[in-house]
């Protein structure tokens, strides 16, 4: 499966690039990612939440990089969900903002895990990538993921719509959300 999406962030390219290049930032805005840990200058270990309490993990390496302009990576070894991606940072015509163009490719494997993962990732994958980039923009432009009373948990995959009623959270709901 191949997905592309783009957004424009009203920040300098160097700043936008630096935030992405610190791969440990990715889970703050990507719905499925739980953790990305740098294991070397160009290598990292990724953990994504998957159904049935089972996490999907893989190692990845940066295969191509032009500072301030482009990062390309791919999973290595025996990844549950082999994947690769490229993000390009392009100055926007306004002279202030940076266009962020993302392309992702991943193989949904066979078997029970594959099916579950495909279902989990695949409901509206393009929408999910768009939403990820929207949160990326929020974090860079406003400092955090924006929460409403109806969608109080920020980046919780598959729980954004339908939302809960737009009314203040009870203490129990607040505690539950904090664990997400």
């Amino acid at each position: 499966m191949e997905l592309t999406a783009a957004t424009t962030v009203r920040r300098a390219g160097t700043e936008v690039y630096a935030f992405w290049r610190d791969l440990q930032n990715l889970p703050t805005f990507m719905a499925h990612l739980e953790q990305v840990r740098a294991t070397g200058d160009r290598t990292s270990h990724w953990v994504a939440g998957a159904p049935f309490g089972r996490d999907v993990e893989w190692d990845a390496e940066i295969v191509d990089e032009v500072p301030g302009e482009k990062i390309a990576w791919r999973s290595t070894g025996n990844a549950d969900v082999p994947n690769a991606g490229t993000v390009r940072f392009v100055p926007a015509p306004d002279g202030v903002s940076t266009e962020v163009h993302v392309a992702l490719v991943y193989d949904i494997p066979g078997g029970a895990v594959g099916k579950a993962v495909a279902k989990y990732f695949g409901e509206e994958p393009h929408q999910q990538l768009d939403d990820d980039l929207r949160r990326f923009k929020q974090v860079l432009e406003t400092g955090e993921v924006v929460r409403s009373d109806g969608a109080p948990w920020g980046k919780r995959a598959r729980k954004e719509f339908p939302q809960r009623p737009a009314q203040p959270l009870s203490d129990a709901e607040l505690a539950e959300g904090a664990g997400q």
Binding site: E144, V146, D149, F161, A166, Q167, P168
Partner: protein
């Protein structure tokens, strides 16, 4: 806290809910001293705006006192104890739309942007108490409200102006003003305003303040037209006269130079088959709007004039008079109000006595009587023009 909530189509209910809490660093919690029922709340209650949920707190016009601020709100912007009016569009102040002062198009404030994008092509800003399409933010018809981006939106009131003098800076006064401003009024202009509800009244006053030669109010409710007349505008009752003919008469055959649609998607009209057609299409949800006022404004406007739309539309309409629009060089301008842009200048106009926002208030009710308020406002009973609720 007590809060007025959506409880299904044509039903609101005041309930006990938890108090709001800080969810983002730039939030503030406001203890509400005055709030109002807006004409667009009626669209939500009628069920014409999708994505309402049972329990959604209503209301987007409110003011009060800051009782808590998040750690990301700089102390030089807002502090506990400040008295503030809160603008209805939630705007981050940092995106390209905010930088262009297009606050109601903020690119960051709607956590449900994906749905709005499907409906509108591009998302719009979050709005308090205004469906999940605009983010699912709890509204202000309540004792307390959470206000995101509190360092950007709320206007501090540091003088002794009363709540009623400044409350409408949250929405209807800037909305009416923007409707007039979009008309680029010149001193010789005759401005016609469809709808003598609260927003229409403020559009008329604003047109006058911006120098219009003559302002015409079009409505069917005698009490609303009287209110407009008392403020110096010329009333036209569409139940009694043919609007287009009357407008031609009042303008020496030219038609109004500038026309403002302050009605929106639930326009009523006594006659015309097309009204029935709209009502049927709306009922079966194949058209979400009854654009009667908009059509009439376009057909009546003088060639080369401006039609400014501040009435709320939510979805799709048909029988749009594109031929009149195109062939007669009309300019169509519109937008949800970019309230943040207008609050300070309009506050100054209130201080100088150029606009008296209190003139439209007909009812003051305790919050617990909100359902009664919706009832009389919706059904235009008891000469109801504008209701202020006291939590």
């Amino acid at each position: 806290m007590r809060a007025n909530t959506w409880a299904g189509r044509n039903k609101v209910e005041v309930r006990d809910l938890p108090d709001p809490k800080i969810l983002n660093k730039r939030d503030a919690i406001v203890g509400i001293t005055s709030t109002a029922i807006c004409g667009s709340d009626l669209h939500l209650v009628d069920g014409y705006v999708p994505t309402m949920q049972d329990g959604d707190v209503m209301g987007h016009e409110f003011m009060g006192e800051v009782i808590e601020v998040g750690s990301g709100v700089p102390a030089d912007t807002l502090r506990v104890g400040d008295r503030v009016v809160v603008p209805f569009p939630i705007a981050c102040g940092a995106c390209a739309a905010c930088a262009a002062e297009l606050y109601s198009c903020c690119e960051n404030s709607n956590p449900n942007a994906g749905i709005a994008e499907k409906m509108f092509g591009h998302p719009v800003a979050g709005i308090f108490g205004y469906s999940h399409l605009t983010g699912g933010f709890a509204g202000g018809q309540a004792q307390y409200a959470r206000v995101p981006f509190a360092d950007v939106g709320p206007l501090k009131i540091e003088s002794d102006l009363t709540d009623e003098q400044v409350l409408f800076l949250s929405d209807i006064l800037p909305t009416g003003y923007m409707g007039a401003e979009m008309c680029d009024i010149r001193p010789s202009d005759v401005v016609a305003v469809w709808g003598a509800g609260p927003v229409g009244q403020f559009a008329m006053d604003s047109a006058r303040v911006l120098g219009a030669a003559k302002v015409i109010a079009i409505d069917r409710e005698p009490y609303r037209l009287r209110m407009a007349e008392q403020a110096g505008h010329i009333p036209v009752n569409f139940d009694d006269v043919d609007v287009r003919l009357r407008l031609l008469e009042l303008t020496g055959g030219r038609g109004p130079d500038r026309c403002i649609d302050a009605v929106g998607m639930e326009a009523t009209h006594g006659s015309a088959h097309i009204a029935a057609y709209d009502r049927i299409k709306q009922a079966v949800r194949s058209e979400t709007e009854r654009p009667h006022a908009l059509r009439q404004a376009i057909m009546s406007c003088r060639s080369g004039g401006v039609v400014s739309v501040i009435g709320v539309y939510g979805g799709f309409l048909d029988k749009f008079p594109a031929g009149a629009w195109m062939n007669r060089s009309l300019t169509l301008r519109t937008g949800q109000c970019h309230v943040q842009r207008y609050m300070k200048p309009l506050l100054r106009r209130i201080e100088r006595g150029e606009i008296d926002p209190t003139r439209i208030i007909t009812h003051r009710l305790p919050l617990d009587e909100a359902p009664h308020g919706y009832d009389i406002f919706k059904n235009k009973q008891d000469n109801c023009e504008k209701i202020v609720l006291k939590p």
